[in-house]
Amino acid sequence: MAETMLEARALHKAFGALAATDGVDFEVRAGETHAIIGPNGAGKTTFISQLSGTLRPDRGQIFFAGEDITSLAAPARSLKGLARSFQITSIYRDFSTLDNVALAVQANAGHSFHFWRAARDEKELREPARAILEEVGLGARAEVVAANLAHGEQRQLEIAMALATRPRLLLLDEPVAGMGTEESQRMVEFLATLKGRQTIVLVEHDMDAVFSLADRISVLVYGRIIASGSPEQIRANPEVRAAYLGEET
């Protein structure tokens, strides 16, 4: 069995009386693509926000590569190799596409207390950034101001930024949200190329995307994981069908 990359133990998070994460145990193995599905309001984003460090859990622990990271803030987790994309596109809209990725490269190239040299002239930032843009298919759009990219391109850019931090685990919050069929198909194809060489946690509503990408699926309903297993197991699980898949199909 592959080693455990990320593990959550008895994670709790409540907003007032609402238990958004209600005792979640969760495990991601190195190299796998692990999808989290669940109906709207199931607490998926709350859950992965705790994994990325944007939210603090009320109780429970999170381990990353064997290390307890529960008390680490988001920037420290990112430096440890936990990269995240957001459900609502989060990029530097007023910077060029290349600047966006170069910033992510810079964030992981030691401290940024360099005051004199122009960051845009630094090959060690620009070249890796350019290479990643080529990889995600945005090479031709490097000089475009990010706000002027199409929606699908902005989603790609977000993933490019996550990849630029050279992550050990990629947390993707609905990467194909709001995309047209063609765009989302291209995104799924791209994510498929990452499969195997990159450990991925994928939160997604698009079931075609989930079932074509995931090695394992966990189903989150009302803050609890009601099932976890291979796509076939999940498809066959009657509880899951009742809670979730039934509504969709």
């Binding site: 803030a73 910077f95 910033l103 810079q106 040299r117 630029a164």
Partner: protein, 323 residues
């Protein structure tokens, strides 16, 4: 290095400033030497504010604090008979940086209205401190018996020499800030302004960078304070009045937030307009009498119609660099 149109215009503007002493002498109007020196000193203060406000998104409503600290550092040393300029200006810069470190350590963690209120509150504290210390003149302020002394290097009582010193410092600081905002450091504070959540997600904690920028801005403004007290040969707690902070903010916004030339354009426009409305003999007396009203109207119009300030009216930059 390639020069954008904006950089060329800025260089042209600096050359024009360099010609002011000769022009003022030719037209026998020494007053303009004084006015333009004042403009440049405020441009230095405004460019320091622009670093944190324009590039860092930190709306400091207490930036006059450092003008005051810088001025008092010079004034207090002079009061005790220490006139050495290096000591005085060194203390002005150091003390302003220290005050900025304290204010910044508390305020930089906050944002929005809280940041504005905390920076304002600290500055008001310093303002009232200035009023209450009778030893240094209290409300009435302090007269500078002697301007800062730099031995044979430069004589500040020579208006032209002082003028060129200020111009030199302004040019140097414009270059410094331009380098700063395009460096890795500058990219971080601009990124944190653009999208803080994203910045944290890629592994950058904005706080230490913002705080450093805040301290650098404070130090530069402290130097402007040291220059200003030599300009007026007099200082009062009014240097730190919140309306002064507002004026600095207005210079930055008027000139064009987050642009290299903006603070200089803003300081020049605001102070020249003030002077024009108050004293230009071609204007009727009802303008002179209520000049603040007309200044206000003009400022409102500029903000409404030139949203990116005066620098925004200059030709657009083409490459990646901000000009």
């Amino acid at each position: 290095m390639n020069f954008s149109a904006r950089t060329l215009i800025l260089l042209g503007f600096l050359l024009l400033l360099a010609a002011v002493p000769a022009l003022a002498a030719a037209f026998k109007e020494p007053f303009y030497l004084d006015l333009f020196r004042r403009i440049m000193i405020f441009a230095i203060a405004a460019l320091s504010l622009n670093l944190i406000l324009g590039y860092g998104g930190m709306v400091s409503f207490g930036h006059a604090a450092y003008l005051g600290v810088g001025a008092y550092a010079v004034g207090i040393l002079a009061h005790h008979g220490i006139h050495d300029g290096f000591l005085q200006w060194g203390l002005a810069i150091g003390a302003s940086a220290l005050v900025a470190l304290v204010i910044g350590a508390v305020s930089v963690r906050t944002s929005g209205i809280y940041f504005i209120m905390i920076t304002l509150a600290f500055t008001q504290m310093l303002y009232y401190l200035g009023i209450s210390i009778k030893e240094y003149g209290g409300d009435d302020g302090l007269r500078l018996a002697k301007l800062s002394q730099f031995g044979d290097l430069v004589d500040l009582s020579n208006p032209t020499a002082f003028y060129y010193l200020v111009l030199g410092l302004l040019t140097l600081l414009l270059l410094l800030v331009q380098r700063l905002v395009n460096s890795r450091f500058g990219m971080v504070i601009r990124a944190a302004k653009s999208n803080e959540a994203r910045t944290r997600a890629i592994g950058l904690s904005p706080y230490p960078y913002r705080l450093a920028a805040f301290v650098i801005a404070g130090a530069i403004c402290g130097l402007a304070g040291a220059l200003l007290v030599n300009q007026t040969a007099y200082l009062t707690p009014d240097f730190m009045n919140w309306t002064r902070s507002g004026e600095l903010m207005f210079m930055v916004i008027l000139g064009g937030i987050g642009t290299t030339a903006g603070p200089l354009l803003g300081a020049a426009a605001l102070l020249l307009l003030e002077d024009l409305l108050q004293g230009w003999s071609l204007l009727p007396t009802w303008v002179h009498r209520y000049w603040q009203l007309y200044l206000g109207i003009i400022l409102v119009l500029v903000v409404l119609f030139a949203k990116r300030g005066l620098a925004g009216l200059l030709p657009e930059r083409k490459g990646g660099k901000d000009g």
